[in-house]
């Protein structure tokens, strides 16, 4: 009898330890595939997956899964995800109705009543009026076209909502419907060098930024200029050099003309050079500071 009991517990224990979570693919966005038994197939809504499956999410894709009919979670970053690593996400709250009730009553009784308008953040997020063709992201028209040949320079934007994560997307000129690259950032800017690996010199691209989960149709141009093309531009600028120009003046003029030609990263380099060569010049210093402020350069 004792042996039978031990055997029974062993069987129970082993079956429990092998119990697998079941995931239901509730919704998805973008390119998502599933690997099951080494076979890759297109992910489909409503498909049941076990812990052995692997989800492959391409750039810009996201997936919402419901686990064991208990817990729900989303994966929004590109990558390969073995579902076994989400077993701990399958735990659902097990509090009783009475406990929920006590918590609810206590929360309501201790909830502070806030005078309307005294909460500045809440006040600023009230709707106010309808919007027309305006979304939560505003990108300065100065960044409508950016010619980039190298160097460190940020693409920045302003956000009117309390968003914590933003999606930056890159489009080719041939396909402005589907981004070929997408990444998430928490700051209100992204450095162009972070995108360079996805672009080829000599090509033009579109970019935009949106609050995570929202759409932004406002596309901006990002030209990745080849070194040869940039050298041509610099030569044209140098050829316009007037007689008797001091090095600082030359740097300042070059910076101004580069900024006018939308070579913003290079303009920054030359504005900095001008301010460095003549540190006492208020004009050079203040122009550099204004430029940095305009383009959110720290």
């Amino acid at each position: 009898m004792k042996k039978l009991s031990i055997l029974f517990f062993l069987v129970m224990f082993s079956s429990l330890s092998y119990a697998q979570s079941q995931f239901m693919l509730y919704s998805m966005k973008g390119n998502v595939s599933v690997v099951e038994n080494n076979v890759t197939s297109k992910a489909k809504v409503g498909k049941m997956l076990d812990s052995k499956a692997i989800l492959k999410i391409a750039n810009g894709g996201s997936v919402t899964l419901v686990c064991n009919e208990a817990a729900m979670f989303s994966i929004v970053k590109a990558g390969n995800y073995p579902l076994s690593k989400f077993n701990d996400s399958c735990q659902a709250g097990r509090s009783s109705v009475s406990a929920n009730y006590v918590k609810y009553v206590w929360a309501q009784m201790t909830k502070a009543s806030v005078d309307a308008g005294s909460n500045r953040k809440a006040y600023m997020n009230t709707v106010g009026a309808v919007t027309r063709n305006v979304n939560n992201i505003w990108i300065d028209s100065k960044l409508d076209t950016v010619n980039y040949a190298g160097g460190d320079f940020p693409l920045s934007w302003k956000c009117y909502s309390e968003a914590k994560e933003f999606e930056v997307q890159l489009y080719t000129q041939d396909n402005i419907a589907t981004p070929f690259f997408s990444t998430y950032v928490t700051k209100l800017k992204i450095n162009i060098p972070d995108l360079v690996a996805k672009m080829k010199p000599g090509n033009s691209y579109f970019w935009n930024a949106a609050v995570k989960g929202e759409m932004n149709d406002d596309l901006k141009v990002l030209n990745y200029v080849s070194k040869e093309k940039f050298d041509e531009v610099i030569n044209i600028i140098n050829n316009q050099k007037p007689g008797g120009e001091a090095p600082a003046e030359e740097a300042y003029r070059t910076a101004f003309m580069l900024e006018d030609a939308h070579y913003l990263a290079d303009a920054l380099k030359y504005y900095s050079k001008a301010a460095q060569l003549e540190p006492n010049s208020i004009l050079y210093r203040s122009t550099l500071m204004s430029f940095k402020k305009d383009y959110e350069i720290k």
Binding site: V45, G46, T64, E69, A70, M72, V97, Y101
Partner: protein, 444 residues
């Protein structure tokens, strides 16, 4: 009267005596003593005739107030706010469904979006290719439109014999019960009425009729949309509602679809058309087509107020697409998850008991600690409200029985005011006819 005071003195004396050896008493006896003392506040006046008559007066007041033909709550924000309120709404909106996350995999909702008749026909055709057991089209296709589109729609309806059409429960000009507002309904069509019994769009949907019978023709019975679906999908479940003709059934909401909770699979039209749905999710299941935008709270088209609304009293916006209400009804019937209601006499009996206990407690404070009367009464009212709502929710959860606590709570609220009236009445009656009462003239 004098007896009462003698009793009081005796109690006070015995209390004083019993206080002396307190220090030497064991802890459990000390607690027992205080519990007994607290209990006596409820029971001391329980059998006094004043308590019983004051309780009776509370109910007389409730009846009299109810008989006033004018709507006295016309400017009362509390009454206006709580017009469509049920204490069990707290269960649905905040307390009860928090731990439930299960998806009903028998039902799949396909959002038709802004599709026209041709677009809807294409969606139905596409879904039909996955061999669902039943399909329900929760759209009132009223009147003729574009002939080409109508012809495509009709062909799809004729082809799919498992498609249930939506009609409106209404009467024709002769007073005959008909299913109207669907141009494609024929004698051979399967259909069910989709409208719910409520007086205005601003009311919560709490009930539905599985079947409605013609007032003049006993054989003319119209099935609801959900009953028509269940008839094809699950005969056992259908048997549960088959005989519920003209019976108002309380809807038990068990699932919702929001950003936070996704308890029915809602598929977007483009996902279905681009083969983005797994065939196992549709094969042999119930597929419901409707305008469903549960993830966009600002889109209130075909959205209803339900007890699951997070804001269960006061101003709010509709919270649930009509099709999710239908899905909840189907889930309820298939899971045999009906709610029984305590009859009116049961609620009345409970209210009498609650009122009687509270009246005894209030009279105790009114006579013996009048300085604390209002404070004690207000605290008792708040604590009682919290306790009785909890009790109602617990009974609802454990036994699927709905106890209406509204009357009980109204009696607790009225009891305090009635004591003042009763005191004046009892004293007047005492002077006139020698009515024995514990209230003295000008007691306070």
């Amino acid at each position: 009267m004098s007896d009462h005071h003698e009793n009081s003195d005796h109690n006070a004396e015995s209390h004083q005596k019993s206080n002396e050896p307190n220090k030497k008493r064991p802890f459990h006896k000390l607690i027992g003593h205080h519990a007994k003392k607290a209990g006596s506040k409820f029971t001391k006046y329980l059998t006094e005739r004043d308590t019983i008559f004051a309780t009776v007066w509370v109910f007389i007041f409730i009846i009299l107030l109810g008989k006033i033909p004018l709507n006295l709550g016309v400017l009362n924000p509390l009454k206006l706010g709580l017009k469509d309120f049920d204490f069990n709404d707290v269960y649905y909106s905040h307390v009860g469904n928090e731990q439930r996350n299960d998806i009903d995999k028998n039902i799949i909702v396909i959002n038709i979006g802004d599709a026209n008749r041709e677009g809807i026909a294409m969606l139905v055709e596409k879904a039909a290719s996955y061999n669902p057991k039943v399909m329900g089209l929760d759209v009132l296709l009223d009147g003729e439109r574009d002939p080409t589109q109508d012809s495509i729609m009709r062909e799809v309806i004729n082809k799919n014999k498992n498609l249930i059409l939506a009609v409106k429960y209404q009467e024709d000009s002769n007073g005959k019960l008909i299913g109207g507002h669907n141009f494609f309904k024929t004698d051979s069509s399967l259909f069910g009425f989709v409208n719910f019994p409520y007086n205005s769009e601003a009311e919560s949907i709490r009930y539905y009729y599985p079947f409605k019978k013609d007032a003049h023709d006993q054989h003319n019975i119209l099935p609801s949309f959900t009953s028509a679906i269940l008839k094809l999908y699950d005969s056992n479940a259908y048997k549960r509602v088959e005989k519920m003709v003209d019976k108002k059934v309380t809807i038990v909401y068990s699932r919702k679809v929001t950003e936070k909770k996704k308890q029915y699979l809602v598929v977007e039209p483009e996902t279905l058309m681009s083969d983005g749905v797994d065939s196992s999710a549709l094969n042999g299941k119930i597929v419901l087509f409707a305008y469903a935008t549960p993830f966009n709270p600002m889109d209130i088209e075909d959205k209803k107020f339900t007890p699951m609304n997070e804001k269960y009293a006061g101003k709010s916006i509709p919270d649930m697409n009509g099709i999710i209400v239908h899905a909840n009804i189907i889930s309820m019937v298939m899971e045999d998850n009906f709610i029984k209601k305590v009859p009116a006499w049961g609620n009345l009996l409970l209210a009498i008991l609650v009122c009687w206990l509270h009246m005894s407690f209030f009279i105790h404070y009114y006579l013996e600690s009048h300085i604390w009367f209002h404070l004690a009464a207000k605290i008792a009212q708040v604590l009682s409200a919290i306790f009785f709502i909890w009790l109602g929710i617990e009974i609802y959860t454990r036994y699927h029985v709905k106890v209406d606590m509204k009357l009980s709570l109204v009696t607790i609220a009225l009891a305090v005011d009635v004591i003042y009236f009763y005191e004046a009445w009892a004293v007047w009656f005492h002077r006139k006819s020698g009515y024995k009462t514990v209230f003295k003239p000008h007691h306070h």
